[in-house]
């Protein structure tokens, strides 16, 4: 409760400072709208359904792409850890491509897929995939060899060892890779949405873009706040519980 109150106090203070800056006319109201203007935009946009609709579209793109990124990345990471040949080829490529900012996939995706959902999906998958592959490989290679040896003596074999020993043993690495993949996917999707208009649906990035075109700063700031809130929400509801579980089980400090 005390933590909640101090956090709430902090954000109230932040809004207050913002309001003061607005009233002091430090910047033109076109560049810095008041918190009330932003709030009323958000209220209006939620009221007419724009906001919910765009959020759903963005989340659908993100979750679909992220899901495929993990489903493809995890087995590829396992293969990379298992076979030297895959490590030298795919592993090296993954390492290189991970350093490529995922925004850089956007021009290529547009030329390949046009202004379509497929382009969006492709960008998100490219954002996720390499992190997941590298994290899985690192995780597997850090599993103490005594675990699979012990499992062997207990009658565990090949697939069972991979699924029940090596995979759970590398979970701390895999989860941090998934978290990184999520961050990369989220960033690249926003970049793609701001960069291109896709007629099959306007996501949050597109709302941000329209806000700029109409010089509607309250829309720009409002959407930015929504994007931050979604990021926070995902972290708190999806990753934090998993990480807490890992810390408790492994006894690593939080």
């Amino acid at each position: 409760m005390k933590r909640f109150l101090s956090a709430a106090g902090f954000f109230l203070l932040l809004i207050l400072v913002w309001q003061c800056a607005f009233q002091a006319r430090l910047w033109s109201p076109v560049l810095l709208p008041s918190p009330v203007q932003v709030a009323s935009y958000l209220k209006e946009a939620s009221g007419d359904g724009t906001l919910v609709h765009s959020t759903l579209i963005t989340m659908r793109r993100l979750l679909t792409g992220y899901f495929f990124g993990i489903v493809v990345g995890l087995p590829l990471g396992l293969l990379t850890a298992r076979w030297m040949l895959v490590r030298d080829t795919l592993g090296t490529s993954a390492l290189g491509l991970q350093t490529l900012p995922s925004v850089c996939w956007v021009p290529l995706a547009l030329l390949w897929f046009g202004q379509t959902e497929a382009a969006m999906l492709f960008v998100v998958i490219m954002g996720t995939l390499w992190s997941v592959i590298i994290a899985t490989e690192t995780g597997v290679r850090n599993v103490p060899p005594i675990y699979p040896r012990a499992a062997l003596t207990m009658g565990s074999r090949r697939l069972h060892i991979w699924l029940k020993v090596i995979l759970p043993a590398s979970l701390p690495f895999i989860v941090s890779g998934m978290k990184q993949g999520w961050a990369f996917a989220w960033r690249s999707l926003m970049a793609a949405e701001i960069y291109v208009t896709i007629l099959t649906g306007f996501g949050l990035g597109q709302l941000l873009h329209f806000g700029r075109e109409q010089q509607a700063m309250e829309q720009v700031i409002g959407i930015m706040i929504v994007i931050v809130l979604i990021g926070l929400l995902v972290d708190k509801t999806l990753f934090s519980p998993i990480e807490r579980f890992l810390h408790r089980r492994w006894g690593t400090s939080q």
Binding site: I146, A150, T153, G155, A169, R249
Partner: protein, 270 residues
């Protein structure tokens, strides 16, 4: 054959006959930076059914290698290894290993670790598996800690869980690789008593690797002394003392002294 889940708990806990282990002319060498090292040089020995045998020797004498070969985790370059009359071609549930580090799985709690090998036995129901796991956790005295995460357990408790996990599939042979080396003296002594009790109760053949001569004299029916470079079986001592044995008796000290004396003679000067 029908494959019903017929294994009841009492059936699962029934004593299985301990195996005899026969090792004949086993050799094994490793490559090292200074050239090939003969870890085992034509070693022959046999362990009787239900016998407790300790392998003692300085590091490099191949005692752990021999244990791994019996476990089926490593293959000898030449020679034969028979467990229960059958040639050892790989790891098997009839020969369970307890490692020096507990090798417990940190993603499972104590109970989950003991359950792990039982889940690999197809003829048991889940309820029976849980009951069997409970039985072994009680046997090692850790019922209260069954929900504990591994990192919350002390070194001694970890090894107790590891012992329960090794016993759970009801193996015929228990292979122990310096399991108490990292424990403090007091914890170790408690373990000696409990291990002798459990060995008597569950009737296992035990091959126990250690470099601690007193530990070997306290636990073994027989103590086999190995010498290094190349690893050879040097001498054999029969410890003819009543059980349960106490570490701190003068009779035991006499045996340990005799073994220590031979060990010093066989060890190369450092």
């Amino acid at each position: 054959m029908f494959h019903h889940k017929t294994g009841s708990v009492s059936e699962e806990l029934q004593l299985v006959p301990p195996s005899k282990i026969s090792i004949e002319n086993v050799s094994k060498s490793f490559r090292s930076t200074t050239g090939p090292v003969l870890a085992l040089d034509r070693v022959s020995l046999s362990v009787g059914e239900g016998e407790f045998v300790c392998l003692v020797g300085p590091s490099g004498c191949g005692k752990t290698t021999l244990l791994n070969i019996i476990a089926g985790l490593e293959m000898p370059d030449s020679g034969t290894v028979l467990a229960n009359g059958k040639s050892v071609t790989g790891p098997g549930r009839d020969r369970l290993v307890m490692f020096q580090e507990s090798a417990l799985f940190p993603w499972l709690n104590a109970f989950g670790n003991v359950l792990f090998p039982l889940k690999l036995k197809p003829n048991l129901t889940n309820k029976n598996r849980r009951d069997v796991a409970k039985y072994y956790l009680e046997l090692v005295g850790l019922t209260r800690f069954e929900r504990a995460n591994i990192h919350e357990l002390s070194g001694g408790m970890k090894q107790r869980v590891a012992l329960a996990r090794a016993l759970a599939p009801n193996p015929r042979v228990l292979l122990m690789d310096e399991p108490f080396a990292a424990l403090d003296a007091l914890t170790r002594e408690q373990f000696y008593g409990d291990l002798q009790k459990i060995w008597k109760q569950r009737k296992k053949t035990i091959v126990f690797v250690t470099h601690n001569v007193r530990e070997a004299a306290c636990l073994g029916d027989r103590v086999l002394l190995f010498s290094p470079y190349p690893g050879r079986l040097e001498e054999e001592f029969i410890v003819d003392l009543p059980r349960p044995r106490d570490m701190n008796t003068s009779e035991l000290a006499t045996y340990a002294g005799k073994i220590m004396h031979s060990l010093k003679q066989s060890a190369p000067t450092a």
